[in-house]
Subunit: 342 residues, 4 copies
């Protein structure tokens, strides 16, 4: 058996660890050979591939990013995409594919398996932890740790200067990174995309914090938004993402808090630092186990499934199911964190 | 309601985070007051207590150890222990207790609740992650991360000097820290207390590793033991723990590997570094949630229960059940890791 | 002898370590007592003080920020400032002052000593490392380490996505943080305030980097500026700092590089994360030694001097001299780094 | 010009960074070619070499260890050693050598240059920082940082359990790592090889520490020794290194303190963790600058010299001079740290 491997979407610490485990077990236990496709679905689409064997993946466990490269190419949006993939797989004598990626990458894998009969197994990857059917995805723990360490560092500045510090973290549609790093970092308020925030309440928390102890730290997910009407752009229009995309919600929030409370406020946008670099021990463990179980699924011919973490077990779930619903922060969980606000 | 809090057994990153969450929610949501008992069960036994309120726990989230101190005192082994505890609780007007600790500390809490009618709620704590009924305990992730970072550092020395490096990590009865840090650190063999190891196999892995790439790293739990008869002490006796306690299994292993393979071998014993210091983001999040749910259990009058992590949910389980069985690494899980040995 | 201590200007990891050393040696060796003034020169100006003894400074060595708070208050700009300081020192029976701060704070100390006869000793503090007369100031090493770790993390994203990553670091007038972290992080080009950069050259380096290996990382100090005429604002005006203050040089650079090279570019602005949090071992050592020598200078009655690092020795230099010239990156040193550009 | 490069002695974070800088500048500015010799002087002795060009050194800046491998081979102790080196250099058309190493490696380089006329330039390397003529050597800052982080972690355990914690760090003949990490970590006593310690004084500090606050941390260099007669071995003999080599000074100290003070004591031996792994930002900067200046020395034909750090300048000093004297901790510097003991 010859297995193709590809990584799609944004990079995530742990991608290499998955591949290392896939190859290691595939070669040693099942006597498979492997081929790495470059840049997600662009690889099989254009026949761009590289060898993937034990020496290739050696030493990659602690390395962030992906040695295969990544892209957001979708073969269903390319002319003749499916036919070209089929031909390239045949040409390279690839019998099955392991696709490591998020909603989009795995959606393609699901469709290729069910509609075209290409044998795919999926490994879930999303830094935002917003894929349902798995308790966690690798990369998320690293992102939370990086954000938490940054918040730790900001506390001392908040303490010494009596300034409001706004930290913008990743999370366009789901607030998991904000929630976890905000709780772990001791933030005084956490704003997530799942619930529109009231800027007046935020200012209230800021002010009560100043009274109770020292300066507040506000953690805001990049996708968080204020209540309708609160974000008034300079020219009078409201809620336009055009402005937000330019300056970011963090910067907007700092300015707004400064104006309304009279306290100095500063923003830190962590950006790509959260998704790069060496994976945490948890993420290396999770990614490694995902890889070991993905190659088992290939061996079992369990096409159209994805590996997933449930509790401490790695299980298999249908790809379709796994990708159809976004996993977001529930109102109950957000309410639970609220005890620390203010 | 006035709630007493105590921490027992070995220290663990996250103890303070639990207390901070307990106090924060207890005061703000339920209007409770709190009393901290010093040094585990010694506190209520001797009436040694300190105030515990929001200012006391402020800033303790990132701090390792426990501001209450700890001990291994067992009131059931002290003369008149139970009566003295009852009196001291009455004297301090304490209505209920939250006990944060491992098997021993929680065992006392279980017995006090069921046999004596003292109202206890438990929070599980074990750096070794060996309590059943909870997927993880706080402190474990930090220990694994510390051990993994150490292994990362040792790789470069192994690489440059062609030496076998033996890393001894915590785990007297369960090999979780060894298993997770060994997998995350890319160890070439992992030895755990659950399965006696064959020193000849270990030497075989060491030698095959030298052939394949560079020098091997062996991760060994402090409680791991070789097969019967392999550990021959100088005076001819075998398997005596007297010797092992003196020099440690790591050191024994290094010497043995050196003698049998002719390769230089060095040992690093991580020791207390694994259990001290600031908790990882994961452990802060887990400890905080444990605290929030423990005070909810008090509010619900759910005596004799312990909070536990199952998947991503915090649930309650009977204290008795939680402490009666050690959670160890299953043969299947150990076998899964074996693909990376050698 | 009773000694007042104050910390002025922006916070810096190591401020508490200086105070701890001052107090520890002052109390134990010289039998002095201490008073901490709050928020820089505002403290003695308004008579706002707190006790400072061994228990107060215990445990502060690893803590960032300053337990005394800080401000940019300048008594020479306040009505009756000098008289009020003199009165408050007399009222609190303070015989001498140790001022820990940058150019401004130390400038005040120099003037108070020479013009008014108030006995001051200075300890240099600038995260930017731009004070002449000392090889390094504490806090700088920590900032460089934080920035370097961020750059390390960004490499994997650059590698996986073929994007230009721009990292904006601190340094309004001096490029030391950019130079050191850029060299340590393996940046492909470093832009500093001391030399206007040519955006076309930067784009050339970006393009040659893409050809040679993977994507480039550009480190830019917040005070760096392009050549005259290259920064054209939307309305046609050039080089206005109004715009730059809004969006930052990093963001401008990313947009410009994107437009000119057609490669995707992203910005990370590290901001306050660089100046907060626990000091590096180097900074704790330097801050501790500065503190020990500052109290020696007080004991020797060496007023109007500042402690400074020269090689591995702590020496004393006149405050006047130390603050009159900014220490900037020399053309030779910048040229030396240039071998890694592109 | 064709330049050979080798790394000798124990590994040290920063070795690869030196080589990367040497090659980068040598190729780009001077148009040199390079050859890497494997395992220190064994390489030129046996003609074991590998290509060394820009692609080879790419990405090695953050990697600890040495891609060339290392050894303690001394060609002057090998039969016909010098002649064989000469022949191998001729055979590979190598015109000059850059030797990166400590006392031994550089001693050979000095002798080869002065006695045999082989053109050598040296780069100093010692994790212990004990080479005179340079303020610092790379690797030392990383080791101190690793040890300091470990001490930070141990504080919380000391605090929670009222135990004496002994930390054994590297330093056989010089106590620099112990002194710097002890000061940076807030140790309660620091023991170095330069001064025999009085175990009774140590116990006095331990006891006074328990009275003043919480439990003490003792940092001891591996080469530290008690006063004559204090180390009595079980069989009655004294000061024999045989015993010490077995159990280590740290373990001896813990047992002795436990017996004399009645307080529980535990030892952590950091070992190889201190010398492996990614270099700190300071060490990367220093190693990079050493590399840049070493290739300049080659270009200038300045044979028999070594690059060195003096203040913030890289200078050249005669190899002979640099290696003839060990740099140790002066009594004054040790006395300065003594204010924190107890």
């Amino acid at each position: 058996m010859r297995v193709g491997v590809l990584t799609g979407g944004g990079d995530c610490p742990g991608l290499n660890a998955v591949m290392r485990a896939v190859v290691r077990k595939g070669v040693q236990r099942y006597d498979y050979s492997f081929l790495g496709f470059r840049d997600g679905w662009r690889g099989p689409l254009e026949g761009d591939a590289m060898p993937l064997d034990i020496p290739t993946v050696r030493g990659t466990l602690p390395r962030g990013g992906t040695i295969l490269g990544s892209s957001r190419t979708n073969p269903f949006k390319e002319e003749d995409g499916v036919r070209r993939i089929r031909e390239n797989l045949a040409k390279h004598e690839v019998d099955a594919l392991i696709a490591i990626g998020g909603e989009d990458t795995l959606g393609v894998a699901a469709k290729l398996t069910s509609e075209v009969g290409i044998k795919c197994v999926g490994v879930p990857k999303t830094i935002d932890n917003d894929l349902s059917a798995t308790d966690y995805t690798f990369g998320f723990d690293t992102a939370v740790q990086v954000a938490t360490e940054a918040i730790d560092r900001l506390h001392t500045t908040a303490e010494s200067h009596m300034r409001v510090l706004v930290v913008e973290v990743m999370g366009r549609h789901a607030g998991w990174i904000a929630l976890h790093s905000g709780l772990a970092g001791g933030a005084n308020c956490i704003l997530i995309p799942e619930q529109r925030f009231d800027i007046e309440k935020v200012c209230g928390w800021v002010e009560s914090r100043f009274k109770a102890s020292y300066a507040p730290i506000v953690v805001v997910a990049e996708g968080a938004m204020p209540l309708d009407g609160q974000m008034v752009l300079k020219d009078g229009s409201t809620d336009s993402f055009g402005h937000v995309r330019l300056s970011g919600i963090g910067e907007w929030l700092a300015k707004e808090v400064e104006q309304r409370t009279g306290k100095e406020a500063r923003t830190t946008v962590l950006g790509h630092v959260q998704r790069g670099g060496t994976p945490s021990a948890f993420d290396r463990w999770l990614a490694t186990r995902f890889g070991l179980h993905a190659i088992d699924a290939v061996h079992d011919g369990d096409w159209g499934t994805m590996v997933a973490l449930q509790g401490t077990d790695i299980v298999r779930v249908p790809l379709r199911e796994a990708t159809e619903k976004l996993k977001t922060v529930s109102p109950e969980l957000y309410e639970e964190a609220g005890v620390f606000f203010g």
